[in-house]
């Protein structure tokens, strides 16, 4: 006898799951920028000092980048027409890759559609069954997702702890075919830097590959913002330097830099690269201009670091705890999650836009406001922001 089955609802879960997120205050409240991403932005109708964009060098509004985008669109059109592998590789794409390799001082480079596409497309091709990925415990979500797509075993080492990494390497050495060590270059929560020179040295001892996600280091650290390889003077010695055009470069797009062998392997094997449409010419035009600007206008990187030093120094002298940051990501650690959220809301009301990072993204007692410096901010802007931090810090008994 047939049992009567209640007919399933095809899409009720969409509403249910969204409502659940709202109930737990986990949904994203999207803020609208009416001004473009600028040092002074209009966010949800209010003018604020921008302290939470990744537009570190303020290049997204640089006239040469805007012109580069317009010129490329006029020359090549609005779209590329295809995926890179079939009929979507324009000359300007290859020009960007050549210029990028020169800038990174590596043999070759490859552009991906996004940084996420680079990690999730390349990592699963580098390792498979019988291999191991050894990962810093605080690595970014896109690395974690890339690693999840592999059939390789995974081991984690304590954050930036080289002795712990060595222990894992010793254990893995006997058991696995390939070993891939993977780390963020600049860690996005604390602004600290992976000891890449030591990682490369250890990797060489064990015949392991090295992969660094330098999304927050590209355009920021190293000579003229060349990234983590230049920062440690080990250009060309990291097997995969992965980065992005979407942060300090002010455009969009993922990248890898390394050997020609790496690039040949990567574009033939990465499913994300092979199966996504290539960048519109305007994007490539702006990317090319961004590299030009970095090579010819060193003042942006200098201003970013000057602003960072000043802001950090003043925050510390006000009595704020800024943790162990070594980069333009400066956390202002306030303790409990509720306090961090309250400080962020009040800062916004006062005209400073900086978002809270709360548990479980960071430890329970380490909730913070994460500030990200921008080279376009003037000393007057920074003093304005510092003044608000001081006022609210005292009001909320943080300092």
């Amino acid at each position: 006898m047939m049992t009567q089955i209640t007919k399933r609802h095809p899409n009720k879960f969409l509403k249910d799951e969204y409502n659940e997120l709202v109930k737990n205050h986990l949904e994203w409240n999207i803020r609208i920028l009416e001004s473009g991403s600028k040092p002074h932005s209009i966010v949800n109708g209010k003018e604020v000092i921008m302290l939470c964009s990744n537009n570190y060098l303020n290049l997204s509004n640089h006239p040469r980048l805007v012109k580069g985008a317009i010129d490329a669109a006029q020359k090549y059109g609005a779209g590329s027409g295809s995926v890179r592998a079939i009929a979507g590789t324009l000359k300007i794409h290859t020009e960007v890759e050549k210029r990028l390799a020169r800038f990174k001082r590596t043999e070759a480079a490859l552009i991906y559609q996004t940084g996420f596409a680079a990690n999730s497309g390349l990592i699963p091709q580098l390792v498979g069954e019988g291999d191991i990925v050894i990962s810093d415990e605080l690595n970014h979500g896109s690395i974690i997702d890339g690693v999840r797509l592999t059939k390789a075993d995974r081991a984690i080492y304590k954050h930036r702890d080289m002795s712990d990494l060595e222990r894992v390497l010793k254990d893995a050495d006997k058991k696995y075919r390939r070993i891939l060590i993977i780390t963020d270059g600049v860690f996005s929560m604390d602004g600290d830097i992976a000891p890449m020179d030591k990682i490369v040295k250890l990797a060489n001892e064990f015949g392991a590959m090295t992969y660094v996600d330098d999304a927050h280091g590209e355009g920021v650290i190293g000579e003229d913002g060349r990234g983590i390889g230049a920062h440690f003077h080990i250009e060309g010695k990291i097997d995969v330097e992965m980065g992005t055009f979407s942060k300090a470069f002010g455009v969009v797009g993922g990248l890898i830099a390394g050997s020609q062998d790496l690039v040949n392997f990567a574009y033939n094997k990465s499913r994300t690269w092979l199966l996504s449409g290539s960048h519109p010419p305007a994007v490539s035009g702006a990317q090319l201009a961004a590299i030009d600007v970095l090579e010819t206008e060193p003042e942006h990187v200098k201003r970013l670091w000057d602003n960072t030093s000043y802001f950090k120094k003043e925050l510390n002298s006000l009595g704020f705890n800024t943790g162990g940051s070594e980069t333009p990501i400066t956390p202002v650690i306030v303790g409990e999650s509720g306090k961090a959220k309250e400080l962020s809301n009040k800062l916004y009301e006062e005209g400073v836009f900086a978002l809270p990072i709360v548990f479980p993204m960071v430890a329970r007692d380490k909730a913070r406001i994460r500030t990200m410096m921008n080279a376009g901010l003037t000393q007057k802007d920074l003093d304005f922001a510092l003044n608000k931090f001081e006022k609210l810090g005292k009001q909320l008994s943080i300092i």
């Binding site: 986990l26 994203w28 995974r154 222990r167 894992v168 329970r364």
Partner: protein, 380 residues
């Protein structure tokens, strides 16, 4: 709605320790004769006072307790008025019988948590009645405190209690350990596992969006561990696997449809049960037939013992035959948060030294995911 917390003091707990006895049950008169004084109530009050310093917002807590020294007097002493007495002991001297009777009454009260003050003996008495029906949190006041449900200090216990009430901590498995009385009577001091209770644990979070995290239950993590072990069994189909004691291994075995024993060691070959609840002699016999083997075990929460507590069947002879490199240690991340090191106490100094040489062991914490843990040999 207010939270209901059971509160029980074993008034004689800890008295034996100061005068060199293994516990206090049944020997309280001897302890008093040797000069022992009650310590449990003082510890309980310390915990309650520390709790009130954390609880600035005065969470709504209803304390369900016992009369006099078994709970009420301590609550009264620190000024807690939101309380209800559900059990009164007869006479002035209490015993294990009173602890168990009180627990029978607690079972009808729909408690969110039972906070007790005592040692391993008290924990065992409570566990025999409440089993997994009420989560337990122990204020350390006994002679022995090997069980995974105790706070490290009275202050730490108060912190855990506050975190639980404010929903920062959750409930998971914890081991009930105590002295093996049979061996003790023969002159050996060995701690064994008596069961798996519900204790308070740190939740595990996974990232589900750029900055969106979801709490995953311990069972979900154990599902991953089971998937990992299933792969291992398939990969090493020529090996016998010894499934050891404890809640994590029990969960994995159940998931793989292996009819195991919670407190014993079982032999598994090609995903089928070979022998159940085997002793050292039986393991050695099986190793003649299946010389290639692996040991699957999980550390005891907080203390971190992987060998020497709760699995004495894994004798030095057994471990040497199988090889240190064939030991698979699995643990949930929530357990490792409160377990700073792994410990080994095989009873064979030479073998302990071989473990010490390793210094560290890999621990499987998820599907194909592992991390290094520091290893210490010999006990406390």
């Amino acid at each position: 709605m207010s939270i209901k917390i059971g509160f029980l003091i074993n008034p004689i707990a800890g008295m034996g320790g100061r005068v060199g006895l293994k516990g206090t049950d049944g020997v309280v008169d001897e302890a008093v004769r040797l000069g022992a004084h009650p310590v449990a109530r003082q510890k309980a009050e310390e915990m309650l006072r520390a709790f009130s310093t954390f609880d600035q917002n005065h969470q709504e807590v209803l304390w369900i307790t016992c009369a006099g020294n078994m709970g009420d007097a301590a609550l009264e002493a620190v000024g807690i008025t939101q309380k209800q007495i559900v059990y009164s002991p007869r006479g002035n001297t209490t015993s294990a019988h009173d602890t168990k009777n009180a627990c029978t009454h607690f079972l009808t009260q729909h408690l969110d948590l039972l906070v007790f003050c005592g040692g391993d003996g008290t924990a065992r008495d409570i566990f025999t009645v409440v089993d997994k029906k009420i989560p337990l949190l122990g204020i350390p006041a006994g002679v022995k405190m090997h069980s995974g449900i105790f706070g490290v200090t009275t202050h730490a216990t108060a912190k855990m209690l506050y975190a639980f009430i404010t929903k920062q901590l959750t409930v998971g498995d914890a081991e009930i350990m105590d002295l093996d009385e049979e061996l003790y009577r023969r002159g050996e001091w060995k701690i064994r596992l008596y069961g798996i209770a519900r204790g308070i644990i740190e939740p595990t979070y996974i990232q589900v969006g750029k900055s969106c995290f979801e709490s995953v239950s311990d069972d979900e993590v154990k599902d991953e561990l089971a998937d990992h072990i299933k792969d291992e069994l398939e990969k090493h189909s020529d090996r016998m696997f010894l499934f050891c004691t404890g809640g994590t291994i029990d969960y994995i075995a159940k998931k793989l449809n292996i009819d195991n024993t919670l407190l014993g060691i079982d032999a598994v070959y090609q995903k089928k049960l070979l022998a159940k609840d085997i002793n050292e002699e039986q393991i050695l016999q099986l190793l003649k037939q299946y010389p290639k083997a692996k040991i699957l075990l999980s550390p005891i929460g907080a203390q971190g013992f992987i060998l020497g507590r709760g699995n004495l069947q894994l004798s030095p002879a057994v471990i040497t035959k199988i090889g240190i490199e064939n030991i698979i240690v699995v643990a949930t991340p929530s357990k490792l948060i409160h377990t700073p090191v792994l410990r080994v106490d095989t009873g064979d100094a030479l073998l302990d030294r071989r473990f010490a040489k390793h210094g560290y062991l890999m621990v499987v914490i998820g599907y194909r995911l592992s991390r290094v843990m520091k290893l210490q040999t010999n006990s406390f």
